[in-house]
């Protein structure tokens, strides 16, 4: 009897500590505007995971999954700029810095700062961004918006179109997390 109690205790401790949330339908969109060319695309199948005990957060997205209105722009994005056959994914691995200020047991909206390593086009750079975590009836959602410079990630703009393409891109990420199955 005692033994069973002990086992249950251990297992429940295990469950409580292993609380991770995930999604495979994270939304990532980007937008850049220059006098000649407005560039925007969406991707609704980013993978992401969040560990509410440590504040660790990861994201991964397939570059080929970004959808543009103009088919030719999408082709050139993959072929000429992101080289998605060589660098198929963009990744983020980091943590929520002020994660202790988020009470995952209580509904509410929490402003957070996340920092970590962002890998795009095969180049990894540290990044810090602000965002919001919303808890509602136990469901966790997160949103963040940040700006990157194409040059930081080795994405070259040919001189011929340098005036048509913005050198920075605004990126928005948004996700509704689900509890990760323990198995």
């Amino acid at each position: 009897m005692k033994n069973i109690f002990f086992i249950v205790l251990l297992l429940s401790a295990q469950l409580a500590f292993g609380q991770k949330y995930f999604s495979k339908t994270g939304k990532i969109s980007f937008y850049s505007e220059a006098p000649m060319e407005k560039i925007e695309a969406q991707n609704s199948s980013a993978s992401t995971a969040l560990d509410v005990n440590t504040g660790n957060m990861e994201w991964a997205v397939l570059i080929q999954g970004f959808k543009f209105d103009k088919a030719l722009m999408q082709e050139h994005f993959n072929e000429n700029y992101m080289e998605s056959s060589t660098y198929p994914k963009a990744k983020f691995k980091g943590k929520i810095d002020n994660f202790s200020s988020v009470n995952f047991a209580k509904d509410g909206t929490y402003n957070i700062t996340a920092s970590g390593q962002l890998e795009i086009h095969g180049i990894t750079k540290p990044i810090t961004s602000t965002g919001v975590i919303t808890l509602k009836n136990g469901a966790i959602s997160a949103k963040s918006k940040f700006t990157i410079l194409l040059a930081d990630y080795g994405i070259q703009i040919p001189k011929l179109v340098a005036d048509n393409i913005s050198k920075s891109v605004d990126i928005t990420v948004e996700v509704n997390y689900q509890l990760m199955p323990t198995e």
Partner: protein
């Protein structure tokens, strides 16, 4: 005994916790959900040089094409190596869907109108479902409207018609190398002599090697099966260089074909590379989104 099993259980739990707490990939626990992706950009545009490539204009996009072939380089300095003459084809291709496109054109050579349609039966894919090849079906019709040279012969409209059927089987082998085969049949309603066949069977081959992100070398050769054409006609060989700049594709090339439509560059090719019967030429393509 009891204690030992408890200890084992405890250590197992600790181990499991350690494994979970490891900074490793949380995402790898999710497993990679494999998606199927269509392979794109096998060629820069929907022509290799003269041959239709396995690419289509995307749905809702209009591609305006202007193509030039100067005269034979063998014309020498007097003809400024062919630059004194030019034939031109002006055309437009429209993607009804990503898989079905239609196009029309008018060639100055023999004042010929042409219309064609190309359908992607299979598309090369990677990922969850892999398809190694792209297969397209292409059909075209051409009307030669130049005034007949023989005033005695009764001229039927049907005598001016030419048809082409083509299967394009191709694959993007790597990000820089693509290759395709194009078995083709050209039907001529009227031919010059009895010795020529109305139906001409040919096998075209086209390839491209990317030199940079926006440039590529293209080559194509069309082998006409023997005993179908009069002996003065030669197989078509073309070498080209593609430059892509956003919405434009410039194709510069050397070819022994004067005509830019199938019935001409497959079955009426008089130029011979060995005699310098080579045209310098270009195709200019500009794509507009009109959906």
């Amino acid at each position: 005994m009891k204690i030992r099993s408890l200890l084992t259980l405890f250590s197992l739990c600790v181990l499991a916790n350690l494994l979970q707490a490891q900074d490793g990939d949380m995402l790898s626990m999710l497993g990679d959900s494999q998606t199927t992706e269509v392979v794109t950009a096998s060629f820069k545009t929907d022509r290799v040089v003269n041959l239709e490539s396995l690419e289509n204009v995307a749905g809702g996009e209009l591609d305006i094409k202007i193509a030039h072939r100067f005269g034979f380089i063998s014309g020498g300095a007097y003809e400024l190596y062919g630059l004194d003459q030019a034939t031109i084809r002006i055309g437009g291709n429209y993607g009804i869907t990503d898989r079905l496109m239609v196009g029309v054109g008018r060639s100055s050579y023999e004042k010929t109108f042409d219309a064609f349609s190309k359908f992607k039966l299979l598309r090369q894919t990677t990922g969850a479902r892999k398809m190694p090849f792209t297969i397209c079906l292409m059909g075209s019709v051409a009307v030669k409207t130049i005034k007949p040279t023989d005033p005695v012969r009764e001229n039927f409209f049907s005598s001016k018609l030419f048809y082409t059927g083509q299967i394009i089987i191709g694959r993007k082998f790597s990000k820089s190398f693509s290759f395709q085969l194009s078995p083709t049949i050209v039907h001529r309603n009227l031919v010059l002599t009895n010795a020529e066949k109305n139906d001409v069977l040919a096998l075209g081959a086209g390839a491209r090697i990317k030199l940079g992100k926006r440039t590529s070398l293209n080559a194509e050769y069309i082998y006409v099966l023997p005993n179908q054409l009069a002996p003065q006609y030669k197989n078509s060989l073309s070498l080209g260089f593609d430059i892509e700049t956003g919405g434009h594709v410039f194709q510069l090339h050397f070819t022994n074909s004067t005509s830019m439509i199938e019935k001409g560059f497959i079955a009426e090719n008089t130029g011979d590379w060995r005699h310098g019967d080579i045209h310098f030429g270009f195709n200019l393509s500009r794509t507009f989104s009109i959906k």
